[in-house]
């Protein structure tokens, strides 16, 4: 509802003061620049509005915080399946999603998409050490993408940038409940033909708030008191249970 209001407002502003093409060919804003993880959090919608020069294409890329990840491959050992091989990739975005204003194979060309890290195949995955075969790295990269897709942190396919009129566009993305916390970077590209004309970068904060943030902070800063708190609850519950059952 809020985003609807925002949309209406933007349309009004646009009607009153038409954008002068050339002066500012790309403007973007997030309906909400933070995702609050509360105890009842089940995922959130991200709504991004923007104005682009008429006739241009738009791509939006969202990246989560980067961390090293390890991909492990199971193999057979004495009949049982266990992890045999492992490959660590450096600085992998823990969340990635993207939206395009036209189908991926018609959008720019593959090389330019890769240059701007638009699309999963354009993500640069750097193995920690270079002693692997190229085929092996590719296999592990594919597995990494598949694993992240399976838990909803990488997209199966691009989302659409929908134009509400010739200039105003809107992108809706969804983050799942297991979304990693941290600072997210949202890049919006204004594309003409196969060249990127303008880039706008917006930040998004994903963090626990309220009760769950308090619990998280307390458990990390005062780990021992936190443990005692858990224990006293356990002891009380055990005593209560014994009382209630009359087992004494």
């Amino acid at each position: 509802m809020l985003s609807g209001l925002f949309l209406l407002l933007s349309c009004l502003i646009m009607a009153v003061a038409p954008v002068r093409a050339g002066a500012e060919s790309l403007t973007v804003d997030l309906a909400k620049d933070h995702v609050d993880i509360t105890t009842g959090f089940t995922g959130a919608e991200l709504v991004l509005f923007g104005m682009a020069e008429e006739g241009a294409d738009v791509a939006v890329v969202i990246r989560g915080p980067r961390k090293d990840v390890i991909v492990r491959q199971k193999g057979r050992f004495l009949g049982a399946w266990l992890n045999r091989e492992g490959m660590t990739f450096e600085d992998v975005p823990l969340f990635y999603d993207y939206a395009l204003s036209r189908p991926e194979d018609e959008f720019m060309d593959e090389a330019s998409r890769h240059n701007h890290e638009i699309g999963l195949s354009g993500l640069p995955f750097k193995p920690q050490s270079g002693r692997y075969h190229k085929e092996m790295v590719e296999e592990f990269e594919k597995a990494l993408i598949r694993n992240r897709q399976a838990i909803g942190l990488f997209p199966q396919e691009p989302r659409t940038v929908s134009f509400l009129n010739s200039q105003l566009f809107k992108v809706v993305m969804h983050v799942p409940a297991n979304v990693p916390t941290g600072t997210y970077e949202i890049q919006t590209f204004l594309v003409k033909g196969k060249d990127v004309k303008e880039v706008r970068t917006t930040k998004l904060t994903v963090a626990q708030v309220g009760f769950s943030a308090g619990v998280y902070k307390f458990s990390h800063s005062y780990a021992f008191s936190y443990a005692l708190l858990c224990l006293s609850f356990a002891v009380f519950a055990g005593w209560f249970s014994n009382r209630a059952s009359g087992r004494g």
Binding site: D68, V69, K74, R146, A150, F224, G238, R247
Partner: protein
């Protein structure tokens, strides 16, 4: 209802976890077992990281241990001295267990190691129970009274161990290393597998220590409480893997389930209860075991470092 676990940093279905722990609590009420061997694998199966599952489950074990031991204490069925010696071993064991857990995580073998340990433990305990219960079922009432005084002889190499101690309550004289060693193994299992280890401690106390049956249940619970409490503290302090939300749901579920189980236990014969429990243990064992040997659909897994 989805609920966000602040430490696991993921949302889980609160009803599922609650029903599971209530069911396990029900089993505890009926059979008098802790039930960690069912809860921990299930939590891991729902996608909760093994470290958080084991750490949070440890605090649930404290609750069920306290609930069980109070009755035994009131009746005086706890040998505090031998329990304390076991406890000393258990504390050292759980310290090593946490280290081994961290090492296995580092090596990427924690899931395999957990499944493997569960299969071995559940398989051996389950099949022993089935054999024993069926034996009793077929020659019932031949000897249903067991002598309270255990005439079990300690094996010669055990008799030679140093640090001999007298345990008057159990009428035993033996090296402190024996109960200490049993406690050590129990502590290891608590820290690595998130189980109290009662199903291993109880037979060990009967057959290796030769303790009077009457004292075994209470004494094992006494030591389990402190070892699981220590494991909770260490998991919380060294690994930050105790999720109080998850632990609360587990504890509430098990408290309620236990009440129902205890009242239900009156309608079921102990022998039948043992057979059902043995079958249940074997089902979990076969389920976990088959996962180890069947080729998984996805050979690759990803972990954030």
């Amino acid at each position: 209802m989805q609920i966000y676990l602040p430490i696991a940093e993921m949302a889980v279905s609160a009803e599922t976890i609650f029903l599971l722990s209530a069911f396990v609590g029900f089993l505890s009420g009926v059979f008098g077992v802790g039930g960690g061997f069912l809860t921990t694998p299930f939590l891991i199966f729902t996608g909760i990281p093994p470290a958080v599952a084991v750490g949070s489950q440890a605090s649930q074990l404290v609750a069920s241990g306290v609930s069980g031991v109070l009755g035994h204490l009131r009746r005086g069925n706890v040998d505090i001295k031998i329990g304390t010696v076991m406890l000393a071993g258990g504390m050292i064991g759980s310290f090593f267990g946490i280290m081994i857990f961290k090492l296995l995580q580092y090596l990427g073998q924690i899931d395999f190691a957990l499944s493997f340990l569960y299969v071995v433990l559940l398989g051996s305990v389950g099949s022993l129970m089935i054999v024993e219960s069926l034996g009793t079922l077929f020659k019932r009432r031949k000897k249903n009274v067991r002598s309270e005084f255990n005439v079990q002889r300690v094996s010669p190499w055990m008799a030679r161990l140093p640090y001999k101690m007298r345990f008057p309550r159990s009428k035993l004289y033996m090296s402190a290393l024996i109960p200490g060693g049993i406690g050590f193994v129990g502590g290891l299992l608590t820290a690595i597998m998130g189980i109290g280890g009662g199903f291993l401690l109880v037979p060990a106390m009967i057959y290796i220590l030769g303790m009077p049956i009457l004292l075994v249940a209470g004494t094992s619970l006494y030591q389990i409480i402190f070892v699981t409490a220590l494991a909770t503290i260490m998991h919380a302090v060294f690994n930050n893997t105790v999720d109080i939300m998850l632990a609360s749901i587990l504890i509430c579920g098990s408290v309620i389930g236990t009440q129902i189980g205890v009242s239900f236990a009156r309608f079921i014969k102990p022998l039948h209860a043992r057979i059902i429990l043995a079958i249940l243990i074997m089902v979990v064992c076969i389920q976990l075991g088959s996962q180890l040997f069947i080729r998984p659909a996805e050979l690759f897994s990803t972990a954030v470092l």
